[in-house]
C-alpha cells in the first residue's frame, strides 16, 4: 500500500466502522461484532503505520492532491504514529469492555457509532498537519464525547455533561480565535509553514495573543491548572466503558497538541512561556493529587489523578531537553494504558459490588484475589513503584528536571509521586483489605456470572500484562521515545516532508 493510503487508512477505518455500525443498528449481534472488528482492523493499520514511520522518519500526504501549504496535510512523525497506535489499542480494549454493558442493555445501539467517531476525532487530531483542521478534529471528538457522556440520561450525567460541554465550547471558541489571528497575521494555517514563517523574528512579534489563546484552549483540553475543573466534575458520571476511553485518550490529545505547538509551530515562542509552563505543570500535579486525596469514590479519585499525571507530561514538555521530552512521550504512552486499566478495574468493582464508594466496599482481596492483582499492577505503576512502567516514566522526567537544575519543580514532582501512592493505598486498603462493612452486603451473584465477566476482565488483564512488559523491557520503547523526541526537537525533517509531499488522494 502507498504511504498516502496508509495514512488515510487510519481515518477511513474508524469512519467506515462508525457508518456500518449505524446501518447495522437493527441487529445487536452484527453491530457488536463489526464494532469490535473495526477496532481490531484499526489497530493493525496503526501498527503498520508505526513500523513504516519508524523506518522512514516522517510520512506526509496531501488531502485531495492540493500541494502544501494550500491544502490539508496529513502527516505522521514518530510521536504521532505512536499515539495513533496506542489510541487504537485503547479503542480495541474499550470496544471489548463495552460488550458487557451493551449486552445488559445499559448501553444501546448509539454507542458503537459514536465511539468510533470519537476515535476518528482522536486519530485525526494526531495526524493532521493543519491548524484549522486540528480545530475541526477537536470538534468531531467533542461532539461525539458530548453524546457519549450523556448516554443513559441520569441526572448526575446531565449535570456533569453541562459543565463539560460549556467549558469545552468556550475553549473551542478561544482556539478558533487563536487560529484566525494566526491566519490574519501569517496567511497560512499549515503547521510546518507557520514554523517556517516564524523563524523570522519580525513575523513572530505580534503573535503573543494567539500563543496565549492556543495555550488556554489546549490547556483546557489537557486539563491543566487552573482549567481542569470540567474533568473531575464529569468523568465519574457516565458508564465505565465511556469513562475509560475518555480517561485514556481525551486529555492526552490536549497534551499532544501542546507538544506539537511548542516543538513545531510555536517553537519560536516557547522561551517566553517556559517559566509559566513549568509552574503550571507543578500546580497541576499538586492540585490533582490533593483533589484525589479528598475523595472517597474510586472513579472520582482516579479522575483527579488524571489531572495530576498530566502535570508530569507537561513538566517534561516545559523542560524541553531531549531526555525530558522523551520522558513526556514515554509518560503519555504508559499513562494511557495504566489509566484506562484503572478505570476498567474500577468498573469491575462497581459491577461486582454495585458501587464505587470506598465506605461501602471491602473484602475484595478475600473474595476476588484476581481482581486485587489486576488493581495492584496499574495502581502501583501509577504510583511509580519499580519495576513497573510508571517508575521509568517518572524517573526520566525527574532525571531531566535535575539535569536542568529545576530543583523546586522537581522536588514537587517527587512529593506528588508519594502522594499518588498514598491515594492508591487508600483504595487498596479500603476496597480490598478492609472487611466488608456489615451494613452493606454485596449483591448476590447471579447464575453464570463468571462467564459474563470475561469481556470486562480480558482487556484489563491484557493491559496489566502490558504494564509489566513495558516495565521489564522498557529499553526498546524508551529508545523509541528518544528517537521521537529527537525528531520533535529538530523539526526540519518534518517541515521538509510536509512541504515536499506530493498530492495523494485516498
Amino acid at each position: 500500500m502507498s504511504d498516502a493510503g496508509l495514512l488515510f487508512l487510519q481515518l477511513i477505518v474508524p469512519a467506515a466502522t462508525a457508518t456500518v455500525c449505524m446501518i447495522a443498528r437493527g441487529s445487536a449481534r452484527v453491530q457488536h461484532s463489526i464494532g469490535v472488528m473495526g477496532a481490531a482492523v484499526a489497530l493493525a493499520a496503526a501498527a503498520a503505520l508505526l513500523l513504516r514511520v519508524d523506518s522512514v522518519g516522517v510520512l506526509a500526504a496531501q488531502a485531495g492532491g492540493w500541494a502544501a501549504p494550500f491544502g490539508i496535510t496529513i502527516v505522521a512523525d514518530r510521536l504521532a504514529a505512536g499515539m495513533v497506535l496506542i489510541s487504537a489499542l485503547v479503542g480495541l480494549a474499550v470496544a471489548v469492555y463495552s460488550l458487557r454493558d451493551l449486552r445488559d442493555g445499559a448501553l444501546h445501539w448509539e454507542f458503537f457509532p459514536l465511539f468510533h467517531l470519537l476515535l476518528l476525532g482522536v486519530q485525526g487530531s494526531f495526524l493532521t498537519g493543519d491548524l484549522f483542521n486540528l480545530y475541526v478534529w477537536f470538534e468531531v471528538m467533542l461532539v461525539a464525547s458530548f453524546v457519549l457522556l450523556t448516554l443513559g440520561n441520569r441526572a448526575s450525567q446531565l449535570e456533569g455533561a453541562l459543565k463539560y460541554v460549556m467549558l469545552n465550547i468556550v475553549a473551542s471558541a478561544l482556539f478558533l480565535v487563536g487560529a484566525g489571528l494566526i491566519y490574519g497575521k501569517l496567511g497560512t494555517l499549515n503547521m510546518a509553514d507557520i514554523a517556517v514563517k516564524l523563524q523570522d523574528p519580525q513575523e513572530a512579534a505580534l503573535l503573543h495573543t494567539s500563543g496565549v489563546l492556543l495555550l488556554a484552549a489546549f490547556g483546557l483540553k489537557a486539563g491543566l491548572f487552573p482549567l481542569f475543573f470540567w474533568l473531575p466534575a464529569s468523568y465519574h458520571t457516565p458508564r465505565v466503558a465511556v469513562s475509560a476511553v475518555f480517561a485514556g485518550l481525551l486529555t492526552k490529545v490536549g497534551v499532544y497538541a501542546l507538544m506539537r505547538a511548542y516543538t513545531l509551530f510555536f517553537a519560536a515562542k516557547f522561551a517566553d512561556l517556559q517559566a509559566l509552563l513549568l509552574w503550571v505543570a507543578a500546580a497541576t500535579m499538586v492540585t490533582g493529587v490533593l483533589g484525589a486525596a479528598a475523595h472517597f469514590e474510586i472513579r472520582r479519585i482516579l479522575s483527579f489523578h488524571i489531572v495530576s499525571q498530566i502535570g508530569y507530561m507537561v513538566l517534561g514538555l516545559a523542560l524541553m531537553t531531549p531526555l525530558a521530552l522523551a520522558g513526556a512521550i514515554f509518560y503519555l504512552g504508559h499513562h494511557i494504558i495504566v489509566k484506562t486499566n484503572l478505570f476498567f478495574v474500577g468498573g469491575i468493582v462497581e459491577h461486582l459490588r454495585g458501587t464505587g464508594e470506598l465506605s461501602k466496599l471491602g473484602g475484595l482481596y478475600k473474595h476476588a484475589p484476581w481482581l486485587a492483582a489486576l488493581f495492584f499492577i496499574p495502581a502501583f505503576s501509577l504510583g511509580g513503584i519499580p519495576p513497573l512502567s510508571g517508575f521509568w516514566a517518572k524517573l526520566a522526567v525527574i532525571k531531566a528536571g535535575l539535569e536542568a537544575q529545576a530543583w523546586a519543580v522537581t522536588s514537587i514532582a517527587l512529593l506528588v509521586g508519594v502522594l499518588t501512592l498514598f491515594s492508591m493505598t487508600k483504595i487498596w486498603a479500603e476496597a480490598f483489605w478492609k472487611r466488608q462493612p456489615d451494613d452493606h452486603k454485596p449483591p448476590p451473584r447471579p447464575v453464570g456470572a463468571r462467564r459474563k465477566l470475561i469481556p470486562l476482565v480480558l482487556p484489563s488483564a491484557v493491559f496489566a500484562s502490558l504494564t509489566i512488559v513495558i516495565g521489564l523491557a522498557g529499553g526498546p520503547l524508551f529508545a523509541f521515545a528518544m528517537r521521537a523526541s529527537a525528531q520533535l526537537l529538530d523539526p526540519q525533517g518534518y517541515i521538509e516532508a510536509v512541504l515536499r509531499a506530493g498530492g495523494g488522494a485516498p
Binding site: F132, Y135, V136, E139, L142, V143, F146, V147, T150, N153, A155, S156, L158, E159, G160, A161, L162, K163, V165, M166, I169, V170, S172, A173, L174, L176, V177, A179, G180, L181, Y183, G184, K185, G187, F229, P232, A233, S234, H236, T237, A294, H295
Partner: protein, 116 residues
C-alpha cells in the same frame, strides 16, 4: 468598516462572557452563542476586509485578479458556523434535559458532581 467590526466583536465577546457568568442556565447558552459569533466575526475580520473584489477567476485566466478578497477565511468561518450550530442545538437539548432532571435552572444548584 474595520472599526465598526472591531466594536461589534468587542460587544459580542463582552456580552457573551457576561452571560456565561450569570446563574441562569438559559443565559449560559445565550452566552455561548454570542461568544461563538464573536469568534466567527473576529476570524472573518482578522484576515483583512476587501470590499467589492470577489475572488473569481476570469475566463481564460488561471488566477483571480490581484487584490481580490481572500476566500479562505470565509470558508473557515462557514465551517465554524456549521459546527457552532450543531453545538448550540446540542447544548439547548442538554440544558432542557438538565433543567427537567433537577427541577431548577439556577446554576448554583448543580454542585453534586463536584461535592466531596
Amino acid at each position: 468598516m474595520n472599526l465598526v467590526l472591531a466594536l461589534t466583536i468587542a460587544v459580542l465577546f463582552a456580552s457573551g462572557i457576561y452571560c456565561l457568568m450569570r446563574r441562569c442556565l438559559m443565559r449560559l447558552v445565550v452566552g455561548l452563542i454570542l461568544l461563538g459569533q464573536g469568534a466567527n466575526l473576529l476570524v472573518f475580520a482578522a484576515a483583512g476586509l476587501t470590499a467589492g473584489q470577489p475572488a473569481l477567476v476570469a475566463e481564460g485566466a488561471s488566477a483571480p485578479p490581484p487584490g481580490a478578497a481572500d476566500p479562505l477565511p470565509q470558508a473557515l468561518v462557514l465551517t465554524a458556523i456549521v459546527i457552532g450550530f450543531g453545538l448550540t442545538v446540542f447544548s439547548l437539548t442538554l440544558l432542557n434535559r438538565a433543567r427537567k432532571a433537577s427541577g431548577t435552572d439556577d446554576v448554583d444548584a448543580f454542585n453534586r458532581t463536584d461535592a466531596v
